[in-house]
């Protein structure tokens, strides 16, 4: 589904991603872990087409299509979703209008008719229930005045509305209390299907108790330095990242 080969990306001439390789197949859950500043969010941004990052080498294909040929909106319409680490507040744009526009753009892309008002409201209701998000929030402007946890729930709500083939969740667990974490994880699990895939970017093992990954990768200094099964997350939880850093740094010297 997603194939990343030797991906290099930089910002302002500073190389952040230094040769990433990753393959994601339908039905898989991948966890990407790693210390702060290692390039996890940058990878997510490059996958979704943020143009402040310059791709200097490598390739990415999604369902056989060269991702670099698609702008951010077409990547979304093709089925890629990013749950932001820091969701953006957009005062004056109502959640309803935002989601209606997004859903209908996706439908148009697939050659479907725009939803009627009734159909759309029903969809909203269903998905709200799924992620246990309050109507109070969906009646407001996008993320405006939302608490940290509410913003993260809202990302999952949007994901539920758009039903992506590939969801990238960037630290969706950070800043969540245990109840919110359970709701978010539940949402993700309910949306899981054999034909879609998820990349969970996280700092902590905690979330992986609820969303069980098939693979765990450690991203350090712009490279995936270690990949293993779900047991790696536990090991990292226990030992921290220092031992990996040490090993990698030694090899590089």
């Amino acid at each position: 589904m997603l194939h990343i080969k030797n991906l290099h990306a930089s910002i302002d001439g500073k190389e952040i991603l230094r040769g990433i390789n990753l393959d994601v197949n339908p039905g898989e859950i991948h966890a990407i872990m790693g210390p702060n500043g290692s390039g996890k969010s940058t990878l997510a941004s490059v996958l979704t087409g943020r143009d402040i990052f310059e791709v200097t080498d490598g390739e990415i294909t999604f369902e056989g299509v060269n991702l670099f040929d698609l702008n951010p909106e077409d990547r979304s319409r093709s089925g890629i979703f990013l749950g932001f680490q820091y969701p953006i507040e957009i005062p004056g744009v109502s959640m309803v209008n935002f989601m209606k526009t997004a859903v209908n753009e996706h439908r148009k892309f697939r050659g479907q008719k725009a939803m009627t008002a009734g159909e759309f409201l029903q969809l909203m209701r269903d998905k709200k229930a799924l992620v246990e998000i309050d109507s109070r929030l969906t009646n407001r402007s996008v993320n405006e005045g939302f608490s940290g946890g509410e913003k993260k729930k809202n990302e999952i709500f949007q994901m539920a509305m758009l039903e992506p083939k590939l969801a990238i969740l960037d630290e969706t667990d950070s800043g969540l209390d245990i109840d919110a974490l359970r709701i978010v994880a539940n949402g993700v699990n309910k949306l899981k299907r054999p034909d879609n895939a998820t990349i969970v970017i996280t700092h902590y093992q905690r979330l992986l108790d609820y969303i069980v990954p098939d693979f765990v990768h450690v991203l350090y200094n712009g490279q995936i330095v270690l990949s293993a099964g779900k047991e790696l997350a536990l090991e990292l939880e226990e030992k921290g990242y220092d031992w990996i850093k040490k090993e990698v740094d030694q090899v590089q010297i």
Binding site: N71, I88, P91, G92, T101, F109
Partner: protein
């Protein structure tokens, strides 16, 4: 009986025009208005048309627009059609009492001045000055002093007609009052109308003012409006400026507020070649509340400039100024907002903000807040921003599948809505909303189903 004059050297020509026609002016008008003319023309002789050397007009270049070849009519041109035939306001469900000014002259099928059952007097200022000289005389020229600037002086010297509104004590006007300023002439024209609105104690009214150009000719409007809001009165004004690219509108509004009165103005500058709005508010007595809002949209080579002065002359008053602009192409804009707090105006709360979005590298905006605070127990804040659309927000929308153009429009529209949302007349708010959306989409923004399609 219309007198036609060309203007070359602007100030000298205007002075000559006045000298040549002062007899006509005085003969046509009442004593109340005539009483101010000589002083006004003297002030204009001293001040002239404000130039860019004047700090207040640094970004608004008036000479070129005054230098155009205009005609001046000292009496209304006879029209041979019913205005209803060419102009129908199409704001649905707007339940209004409509007053029309055609090229600055009040026109109506009914009387020039009407006294309604509830004692409200509305209609022509010229007629009001004749029928109610004491009432008009008490306020006329008291707030718009000719010493303030050349434009006010010029208007006062030439003004003959405009709208008069009087709302008596304890009367709440149920219908919104709508003033439609129509500019329509086959020749280029200068128009200098004068309005006076008096709100007596405990009265309440809502006003909608719409400015339209209905012919392609060039227009220069230099209007002055005086507003008196007595104790506990409440007046909400929405002004919609929708003129073509060859029209210049210079609009000066003076608001005098008495104890616990509440006045709001919201100026939506939708379209126009050059627009200059001066709004001056004096909160003379305690407990007043004032809101002065504005939204402007410019493109091509349009220019919109908003200048406000909010004067806190008494304690315990609260004022909010909020202006926003979206500038496209080579459009230019200026905001100059002054808050003046007198030494004894303790417990003042005064807020001001001006936020602007530049859509191109060629658009420019000059913004300058000025706070002069002479009291110590006050809450004041101001902030101004000039920037582009928020790239992070744009990206966020696009990652949800919303196309770039649509996403940009959503953000611009959201930006503008903060001001539109302040409009309290709901059908009007919806309509303005719709017009602004169309305008931002680059679609024609004509807001009436008139037969004329002017530039």
């Amino acid at each position: 009986m219309s007198f036609i004059a060309k203007m070359l050297d602007v100030k000298e020509e205007l002075l000559e025009l006045y000298e040549a026609n002062s007899d006509t002016l005085n003969l046509n008008s009442s004593e109340v208005m005539n009483g101010f003319r000589e002083e006004a023309i003297m002030q204009f002789r001293k001040k002239g048309i404000p130039t860019r050397k004047n700090e207040d007009y640094k970004y608004t270049e008036l000479e070129p627009v005054f230098q155009k070849d205009y005609k001046y009519r000292f009496a209304p041109k006879k029209i041979t059609f019913a205005v209803d035939d060419i102009f129908k306001c199409d704001v649905p469900e707007l339940d209004t009492k409509i007053l029309i000014l055609l090229n600055g002259w009040f026109i109506s099928d009914e009387a020039q001045l009407q006294e309604l059952d509830n004692g409200v007097i509305i209609g022509s200022l010229a007629e009001a000055a004749k029928q109610y000289p004491d009432l008009v005389g008490e306020h006329y020229g008291q707030h718009a002093k000719t010493s303030i600037d050349g434009l006010v002086a010029l208007n006062t010297a030439f003004a003959q007609d405009g709208i008069f509104i009087y709302v008596p004590k304890n009367v709440v006007v149920a219908h919104d009052i709508q003033i439609i300023n129509i500019l329509l002439d086959d020749e280029s024209l200068i128009v200098q109308h004068r309005n006076l609105f008096i709100m007596e104690e405990n009265s309440e009214a809502k006003l909608v003012i719409c400015d339209h150009t209905l012919s392609e000719s060039e227009f220069l409007t230099n209007s002055v409006t005086e507003i008196v809001a007595k104790s506990n009165s409440r007046l909400d004004i929405v002004k919609m400026q929708n003129e073509h690219n060859k029209a210049t509108q210079l609009s000066s509004t003076f608001i005098s507020q008495k104890r616990s009165s509440n006045v709001s103005t919201n100026i939506i500058s939708l379209h126009g070649g050059m627009i200059r709005n001066n709004v001056q508010v004096v909160m003379e007595e305690e407990g007043c509340e004032n809101s002065t809002f504005g939204l402007f949209l410019v493109d091509k080579k349009q220019h919109v400039s908003n200048h406000t002065i909010v004067e806190h002359a008494s304690p315990n008053c609260r004022s909010t100024q909020k202006f926003k602009g979206v500038l496209d192409d080579q459009g230019t804009g200026a905001f100059n907002g002054r808050i003046l707090v007198h030494p004894d105006a303790q417990k003042t709360e005064a807020f001001q903000s001006n936020n602007n979005i530049l859509l191109t590298d060629e658009a420019t905006m000059n913004t300058k807040p000025m706070l002069e605070i002479y009291a110590d127990d006050v809450k004041c804040s101001h902030g101004a921003t000039v920037g582009q659309l928020d790239e992070d927000a744009l990206f966020y929308l696009r990652t949800r599948g919303i196309g770039q153009r649509e996403a940009r429009l959503m953000l611009m529209f959201a930006f503008a809505y903060e001001i539109i949302g302040e409009i309290k007349v709901i059908p009007l708010r919806d309509r303005v909303n719709d017009l602004v959306e169309k305008r931002l989409c680059g679609e024609l923004s004509r807001c009436n189903n008139c037969a004329m399609h002017c530039g």
